[in-house]
Symmetry: C2
Subunit: 451 residues, 2 copies
């Protein structure tokens, strides 16, 4: 919860040019809230606000800005200021900023870095996109197993400012190989003349730098840990990933899944900042594919043109019947896609879930058929009522099966189950719905033969 009242107050003071009051207000605000306020300001006001902050807080505030805002801010700052902020940023925050830049911009920003920072940043940017390495910070505190607790605590005191967090202290051998992670608490509780070895339990969860960042997220979630050590293939400790980085990544991944479910390509940047051309490119692909799927529906209908001409009342129920299949299918696809994403359900569960979904679909279809059969009888007599009711049951079962099985099938072939979007399921269910409806109508009513 950003404290909205405080933020509005700050902006008002700023617009009124009350610099002393602005400073006083900033003093009592959290950096995250100042960052929220900055996003609401224009370029000039942003600079005024940042410069009103003591230098050591500027970088802190900067690190909480969205990357698009970060870029705009650095563009308007002096080279001197930019250089200082880039230097003071934590390595993982600096990677997040740099990887958002286009090639040309990246080059000009890298030029601002001190040689040491440049070396570090190039190394971090060398890990594959969306890998655990890109998320990590190389700032951690490590001790040796043969040290005494007193010596280790001295070392921790000395290095504490370098480490992003010291809630966990990592134990490595002389070549940097990760041996264990020990809680800071245990160092305080332990006897001071003990060796670090005595505090170790040899149980440490770690991840390789080349691993997918989603694996880093699920490891931290599965093991309920706040800090995940990252190693190379030989087990040498390279850096740490903290739970706050992981929460941001988890949110992005969920957003991507949401967008896919709506058949919009994943829009990774802020919707507020996204340009129309980007949104167009992300969305047009699926829409055009769906046009062709829907044309098949048209072709299916045209087979039954004679039947429609003979019993025009059939058209009245057409939107209902085909939509109901899509609706039931969207429901089951949504449930399955999410359950597969959270790991609640796995590939091998499909048969068990299929049986359950079939039961549910029959219940849903019968209920909906019951509701709609009255309207059918009213519009076209008992026979049409029966056509509509039977079609409803069949179409709902077909849609639900489609919505349930497609995500599993996609997973089976190593494709993303979220590709089974609501619009895709709806469009495919439309085709099935048309064929089912008119076939049942042809069997029950006296209709001319299909074209």
């Amino acid at each position: 919860m950003a404290e909205l009242g405080v933020i509005t107050e700050l902006i008002t003071l700023l617009k009124l040019d009350q610099h002393e009051d602005v400073k006083a207000k900033l003093d009592e605000m959290a950096v995250q809230d100042i960052a929220t306020a900055i996003a609401e300001l224009n370029e000039e006001e942003r600079l005024v606000l940042l410069r009103a902050l003591p230098t050591e807080r500027q970088t802190d505030v900067f690190s909480y800005l969205a990357v698009t805002v970060q870029r705009e801010v650095l563009d308007t700052m002096s080279a001197e200021e930019s250089r200082r902020i880039l230097h003071e940023l934590l390595p993982d925050d600096r990677t997040a900023f740099l990887e958002s830049l286009e090639a040309e911009e990246l080059e000009s920003q890298l030029k601002l870095l001190a040689p040491e920072d440049l070396k570090q940043s190039l190394k971090l940017l060398g890990y594959p996109e969306e890998s655990a390495g890109r998320l990590m910070t190389p700032r951690f505190v490590s001790v040796r197993p043969q040290w005494t607790v007193t010596r280790a605590l001295d070392h921790i005191r000395h290095e504490a400012d370098r480490g992003e967090t010291v809630n966990f202290v990592f134990v490595t051998d002389d070549r940097g190989k990760l041996l264990d992670a020990v809680k800071l608490k245990d160092f305080i509780l332990g006897r001071q003349d003990q060796k670090v070895e005595a505090l170790m339990d040899q149980e440490v969860i770690s991840i390789q730098a080349s691993a997918d960042r989603e694996d880093a997220v699920s490891t931290i979630q599965h093991y309920d840990i706040n800090t995940l050590p990252v190693t190379d293939k030989q087990g040498v400790l390279l850096g740490i990933i903290t739970v706050d980085d992981v929460m941001d990544v988890a949110e992005q991944e969920v957003t991507e899944d949401f967008h896919k479910l709506g058949a919009a390509g994943a829009v990774t940047m802020s919707l507020r900042d996204a340009r129309p051309s980007l949104l167009y490119r992300k969305r047009i692909g699926w829409l055009v594919i769906l046009v062709f799927v829907n044309l098949i529906s048209g072709a299916a209908i045209s087979i039954f043109e004679n039947a429609i001409e003979a019993v025009i009342a059939l058209v009245f129920f057409l939107p209902l019947i085909i939509a109901s299949g899509g609706n039931a299918g969207s429901q089951s696809a949504t449930l399955m896609v999410r359950a597969l994403a959270t790991g609640d359900v796995e590939l091998r569960d499909w048969l068990r879930l299929w049986g359950k979904e079939l039961t549910v679909a029959i219940l849903l279809g019968v209920t909906m058929a019951f509701v709609v059969s009255f309207v059918g009888v009213w519009r076209g007599g008992a026979e049409l009522g029966m056509v509509v009711a039977l079609s409803m049951v069949a179409v709902v079962i077909m849609g639900a099966m489609l919505g349930m099985l497609l995500p599993f099938l996609l997973t089976r072939f190593n494709l993303d189950p979220a590709t089974a979007s609501a619009p895709l399921i709806t469009s495919i269910a439309d085709i099935g719905g048309i064929l089912i409806y008119f076939s049942i109508a042809a069997a029950i009513l006296t209709l001319p033969a299909p074209v």
Copy 2:
């Protein structure tokens, strides 16, 4: 990442009755992985596995089981074992288990609790459902501002086992009012004869026990903190919420949003364990509502029955035109619902986004019209081609506007924007699509007047 290999190995050993090997394997496994293994076993095997664990690890493993599995395990255990596990559970884990029970079961489990535990659990269960109070653990370590750092560290050492985490030490006054949160690190770095006061920065983020648990999630995410103190209305510290609890809640909330977007009521339990009757109840409501919305589509079509009889080729494009509006609408609704949920977009942004969405929708509509006009000309000549192309542009714009505005409108009236589900948008867009399509057809082709 549960280490799947290890889990499979463990289960195999267990099924082969190799008890010694099972014990050895369990020794090197993390409790979270043992919990994952237990979920795969039958009741009898679960008991064997749990009893093979040293008692102090049993409760740890138990706390990582899904509540449905926890219930099954406790049901098969002896009263003695159940009593011990319930006693040893951390208070927040105990609340999570107890709140999942039906009234009758709850009563019988509460009887197993020691008087002290019972008092604590009843207090925690007294906070409203889905409130911050339900998530918290009353185990924290607090110190007074006038204490010296040495005395505080002694106290922390003494109390560390009570606290779920001591990465943050809370400073309270004599009446328990929360004054500050100080990092454990600062106690180690600080001069030992200093007063705790000297370490305080008077900046502490906290939340009231009665607040919504979603606020607890967003506060922890916004401020990037690992531990959130929970107070009563007077600011007295009652407990703490840790980031791992919050990640679980965040995942549940996202799942609820997903399900709503698919027009399935939020299914909060595991899909694997959910009974068909529950799934039926969660889904039938929206499906029946949508039946009535779709009947309006039918009514809209029946207005144009004469036109359809005159130009039967119009029916060919009907599924395409109405589906395209729904598809574009599903896309924009999905983007908006997610952006509103993450706070990327707020209510006051609607005008700016409306302009952008309109631009995007025109581009999308024109592209799709271009694609489909050829098919239109081929099926029914130049005039029908024009009807189809114009309808496509209009319908896509209508769908996109509907999908964008409905989530804002719902938010404006304090309703959940996720109610604007893909199936709802699709069904409403169907009605608009039918009216638009046949109106344009009537204007361009020579058609009989509507009924």
